[in-house]
Symmetry: C3
Subunit: 396 residues, 3 copies
């Protein structure tokens, strides 16, 4: 899976640097060239890391992480990415409280950014709030930079919002791109993004939404399937449809896991909560209505329990293309008889693809690092090229 570094640098150079000075919030706001440049940088960084080349394009500088939801994996991915580039992570711990006033967000964003190069935010629990919060932070930083408060404009990177999870889906994409041998090989491939049963409730919508919106850009046939009622947010459905039209692929929605799996080259079975439930949940969370939340959970778990047959098992895998479809998951998966009694996937299917899912996850730190590099460097190809040429060892 080794890449031609010189060729990649030339290709990257040709893509321009329209991400410079911008943020990375939603893949569907980005051009194909912009996504491509992030993919190329990610693979360059991964290759150069493996080759023990030092990639500290920042000698000092802070990377602020703002996790408004628990996270272990994304936290480590972000920390790894920032450390790779030479940045030190400082966590902004707001406690559980929502910052209430626009005024305060504007002020806090500036107060934490005097020597900051990137702000990574996770805000995926509040439907209709996560993405606007990130935009509000970005606007505050624009204001501070424009007015001379900040020496530099930190890039804002979406580490998962209510709409999209770009660092995850772009890691997924790099994994399947390499699995099938190139972006051009993805044309006409069928991917099943399906709901799957989980004994928990309230899992974010951002992964399925991000997957359908991204995968449809590469000429793939994207089948979204879920039990009736488990709808995604309308704007992401629209983005997926538009992208499919443009790329020459297709986008279909059904209520059958089996029909989605039929002849699929890739399956991505994963639990999520219905959009409408997440909206009610947002309102209850805002009111700190513990009783209401308990009732909603009970109701939803009962609803989930009617769909235990939505499991990725050996039988359903035989429906995939020649029975050899590729299984994806953003991890951790709810594995039947391992982490739960009934879950998203059987132990047998998961074990077969386990190392693959780990490698899929392994792209994430490099995707995050690539987003940071693309958004903060006027000429990322030149910066990476110089680091490569200087050949400073990362580890003695």
């Amino acid at each position: 899976m080794s890449i031609d570094i010189a060729k990649s640098l030339t290709e990257l150079d040709g893509l321009g640097s329209s991400l410079y000075g911008k943020d990375f919030l939603l893949t569907w706001e980005k051009s194909d060239a912009e996504l491509k440049s992030v993919f190329i940088i990610a693979e360059l960084l991964k290759e150069l890391h493996a080759k023990n080349i030092s990639l500290d394009m920042f000698r000092t500088g802070l990377a602020v992480s703002n996790f408004r939801d628990n996270s272990t994996r994304t936290r480590f991915s972000f920390a790894s990415a920032c450390n790779l580039l030479g940045l030190a992570v400082q966590d902004l711990d707001e406690g559980k409280s929502q910052i209430a006033h626009g005024e305060t967000v504007r002020e806090t964003a500036n107060m934490i950014s005097f020597l900051t190069e990137v702000v990574g935010i996770r805000d995926d629990m509040f439907i209709g709030k996560g993405h606007p919060y990130m935009k509000e932070v970005a606007e505050a930083l624009d204001d501070g930079f424009k007015n001379g408060v900040l020496n530099q404009r930190p890039a804002v990177v979406n580490l998962q919002c209510d709409l999209d999870h770009p660092t995850q889906t772009m890691a997924d994409m790099l994994f399947i791109k390499n699995h099938f041998g190139g972006f051009d090989k993805l044309k006409g491939k069928k991917i099943a993004m399906t709901w799957a049963y989980s004994p928990s409730y309230g899992k974010p919508l951002s992964v399925p939404q991000g997957v359908i919106a991204l995968m449809t850009r590469y000429g793939m046939n994207v089948d979204l399937a879920y039990p009736e009622g488990y709808d995604l947010m309308p704007e992401t459905i629209k983005a997926a449809g538009d992208n499919a039209k443009r790329s020459g692929g297709s986008f279909k929605v059904s209520n059958s896991m089996e029909s989605a799996f039929k002849d699929a080259d890739i399956v991505y079975p994963k639990s999520w909560a219905p959009y409408k439930v997440m909206e009610r949940r947002t309102q209850l969370l805002e009111k700190s209505d513990t009783v209401g939340l308990k009732e909603l959970e009970k109701e939803c778990l009962a609803q989930n329990a009617q769909h235990m047959d939505w499991i990725c098992d050996e039988k359903k895998m035989t429906l995939t293309n020649k029975g050899g479809g590729l299984y994806l998951h953003c991890l951790p998966a709810d594995i039947k008889d391992v982490s739960c009694e009934n879950g998203e996937v059987t132990a047998g299917v998961f074990e077969k693809y386990r190392i693959g899912t780990y490698k899929e996850a392994g792209y994430k730190p490099f995707v995050i690092a690539a987003m940071i590099a693309a958004c903060t460097k006027k000429n990322p190809a030149k910066v990476i090229g110089e680091l490569y040429k200087s050949g400073q060892k990362r580890v003695l």
Copy 2:
């Protein structure tokens, strides 16, 4: 606001380095030359940061932060400062418990310092305790260094105690120095340090105390005003009076916000709790007397509520020198109709000076970095000069 680097380095060199091997706890313990050297280093670091010069005068080394009170802004300022110089921050999280025995402070101070270059402490909640705690840590480090336990003597930096908040007030000072065009331009200027209404209670005394003690050193006319009963700690009142005499300025105390604002060139309206209340609070906190604390809070909020007219509004601002006085605040301000119903300042006044207050805050990381450099470098001018000459880029 760009500075002449060569000239600043020469001036810094001429000031000597009597801070080397010392701590930075209270401005009134420091000579004018010592304060000046911190100011010059802070501005050099700020300028060189803007010029993308790498300032990592430490290749490795720990910076310990010890926050005995919540903090976001100071935490980020300290992290930024340490990172700028090449140090990694490690937080000493004591929980909420006061360390009870001198023995333990002495031991802990050494145990966390084997590879530590600076210890930043915030301890502002306990009247009569914060400053002594910092001195106790400093003495323990002296003991460890003298006895060969430590390879180096870490500098202790006061990130806010019961008496002073030097990183804040020296940032305030750099802001007004540059606003008016130099330290010599401050002579004869009038500054009103006044109490202002806040719907909360228990705000530390360190900012007003630090402001009156510092601003009186530069020939300014410092007017302190607060409602009857909201006294500051006597030793800081004395320090302010002494400093005013020496500098040719003046220091007056009154109970009228209006008379303080009259013809003021600068106003600094800010809530604090009466000294006597903070003493009672200290005793209740030490006994973990929750009921007593609740009662004290109720009593104090009622007392505060009698002084809602102590607000910095458009009308009071017209009293200032030609109606054009400069508004300062250490942030966050309690802004009427934005973050509270009634507060320290109206939205209109705050918005007019908002960017200014952000820039004021923007000096803080560089002031902290300057204190660290001044206390740990035998010849800071030489170190900074060499970093400047080598011209290593901070960001590629």
Copy 3:
């Protein structure tokens, strides 16, 4: 205590590098040459740190800390060690929950390790669980590295488990080696590892177990003494006995503090909980049986209270060799009339040896750094030699 750097590097080079690619979990799994190489590296790093030589053998890279028990000292030692070598610490905070399934440990270990060079783990509360957990993490990392998930195999370092506390005991060893003037001077010296009274209960067994297993390797006469019932885990008793036989020293167990102190050159009086109690405690902790834990605590404190005479006081110290035995402690000690009413040691004895115990602790960061270097470098002597030769200043 300064060392001959060139000579140490040559000696280190001659010891081979059989720790490369391995973990450091238990001293009794390691050969004499392996322990020696860690000791030499630790002293080289300490000396070069004092000489202001930069030791950042990693330009970037993560060090994961996983503390399953509270820690201040070891946390700072690990942070200091990693920072010295150029690594950034990222804490894996699992909350209080035990990770339940092997599956999850395997997955988590990989998810946090994509750019990780070392994983430091403390897991000392659960008898029979701590060491197996560390091995499970190590196996998961082997699996990930072998399957191409990880670019590098991070080293696992035991920061205290149920069996051993190698970073502590090897720091103790370096202190006494230097106190007596060399490893060869330790032959025939008597060390008393004894229980001592503490008003708390549940202190880990790893220090006494680690001490008897390590000290017996150097031809010392190791006397273990404790009140009846306060047994250590059988496998560590066996390791100590075997080691004593091989090294020409001796290992004795008695129930008399006085007979252990008699003519001792070194005493290490320290509280611990009986092995059987720790087993019951493990079961209660696993069931979150708060009532059972309270009862067990009460019972144990009553049992402890019968042995208040197990204190290291001036009288017992007169029993030691010419009354001049060396006092060791891993700190913090329970000091009578200072940190408790009755404790492990009197204030007078402790104060006499206080600076010594601080210096003892001062070896720990360098021992940890040495373990990391030994386990991650194919030729540590070459790497350290190059850093020394290049003479890059650590602090400007």
